[in-house]
Subunit: 348 residues, 2 copies
Amino acid sequence: MLENKEQSRTSLSELGEFGLIEHLTGQIKIKNKSTVKGVGDDCAVLQSKDQVVVTTDLLVEGVHFDLSYVPLKHLGYKAVMVNISDVYAMNAMAKQITVSIAVSNRFPLEAIEELYAGIYLACEKYGVDLVGGDTTSSTKGLLISITAIGEAKKEDLVYRSGANVNDLIVVSGDLGAAYLGLQVLEREKQVFQVNPNAQPELENYTYLVERQLKPEARKDIVELLKSLEVKPTAMIDISDGLSSEILHICKQSKTGCVIYEDKIPLDPQVISTCEEFNLDSTTIALSGGEDYELLFTISQKDFDKIKGNPNLTVIGYIADESQDCALTTRANEKIKLIARGWNALSEE
Amino acid sequence: MLENKEQSRTSLSELGEFGLIEHLTGQIKIKNKSTVKGVGDDCAVLQSKDQVVVTTDLLVEGVHFDLSYVPLKHLGYKAVMVNISDVYAMNAMAKQITVSIAVSNRFPLEAIEELYAGIYLACEKYGVDLVGGDTTSSTKGLLISITAIGEAKKEDLVYRSGANVNDLIVVSGDLGAAYLGLQVLEREKQVFQVNPNAQPELENYTYLVERQLKPEARKDIVELLKSLEVKPTAMIDISDGLSSEILHICKQSKTGCVIYEDKIPLDPQVISTCEEFNLDSTTIALSGGEDYELLFTISQKDFDKIKGNPNLTVIGYIADESQDCALTTRANEKIKLIARGWNALSEE
């Protein structure tokens, strides 16, 4: 599928490690005043009078992504999103990233340039400086390790542990689409393996595929909440599915919760594709993962400020710790929530 | 060789990702006041009134280490050293690390515990907090990505670019031993492959093997220089060999340099083992790498302060940019220095 793009092949070993780093990072222009020194010394140097947040994620070929249908530019973009999403989940602003990659020599320079084009596009769009990294060979496949650094005033930071009984549970955007996008892409891959001349049929799934391949971290929601003068009491980003994330908030806040099945925001393509795939859309939203939406709790007194905003949906409330974390179904039954999130270490 | 240690085998999938993280990080006690919040939220939270330095390194099984002779505990320790060495090279103090690992399911929990035992030992000894990370599966082998964060007052930071003409070039400790240690271990591995009953003969190489398997980052040198009231004009750590590193300093400082072959500090085991292996000890010191000593330049006026210190050796001086970077041999010949450092991307 990618053959045409690989006509020009420059071997990485022609450049050597330092040559490659210079090639990939030579054009960087620093955007943030907290970046004192970027790439080019033993360390990057940062300075902030605010608190600094740090998060890191590792993406492994064959575990987190499949290059038979993930374009490298999208992969680079998504790798940044996955990381800065965690920064926004602290109600902080992402400022710097470091990017380390391990690549087998099956990748030509042009492939790595594509990957970095996606990384730089994400940096440009989100106002983030690439300040360091490491580049090495791997014995198999591609691996990307990103560390993201952000800033927030101490009083603005939001932890997972701050939810209070009766707080409202709010989610941004809609859920389940990224997981379904993956199912669609996997199905097309299998069709392609049986018949390499088959054209992929994706027109009915454009939203799902885009959510899977090119997610956007919700910086806009952090800005929106600030403009609405709403400080969440607890927040987390939805990388492993709604169930897993609300359980993290409840565990760390020492509370229970109630989520209403009929309140969970779903895109129409999620509903129609779940029907087609014979999947339960609620299960997909609860356990699908990779949506990178923000899940947060707010005091009831802030309800009027967010009411009616199309980006935000109230899906339930925080209950006392003595109660379970429960889903109230459309049939008005209560079901205990279980984290069935995508488990990176399972052997399935 | 490690069979006995693997009698107890707990599959990683029994714990799941969150269980594993909790198991590995549940006992952490925060040591630094700049660590506001460690493991357990979307991000770690730090606060420093000083400047913050950030560095990251990726270690890949089969490229950077060979588990047939590297014990996992040593590997964990070394992975931390490799990173915090870059922090000390800025004349800063290491304060936090994040640790991400990708492991194939051939590794039982007990192996990962060994790895983390080494990581924690390094953290304990160097006063560093483990504040975050990521744990995932790999399709092949073990991979460790560490990001280290340190602090220094703005006026104390030392960059590669500050060397001035006539500054003295100083190196800590001695050079070449780590590379020779690797050669010794590789030879023993080959002996073992031919005859699995052979006992490794390492008694004549204890220093070399220790330098390879358990390097120490030179925090002590940063402290020593502070106590001597010497601020280097430029500094770098020696990970790729003396040649490569002095060329980095000269390139970024826009200078040349002269290094005296007979001044390069070598351990007696390096000299005797070079004779045995029929290697040139100067070449090994110039290109061997992995010594993690500090290479720095100082103003001539500071010479009296460091003179005679057994940890520090003056090996040359910074020359004008119009001159090359050169080695003056014992025969008083000048040879142009070339970076032949270990190249992680070469296909050799």
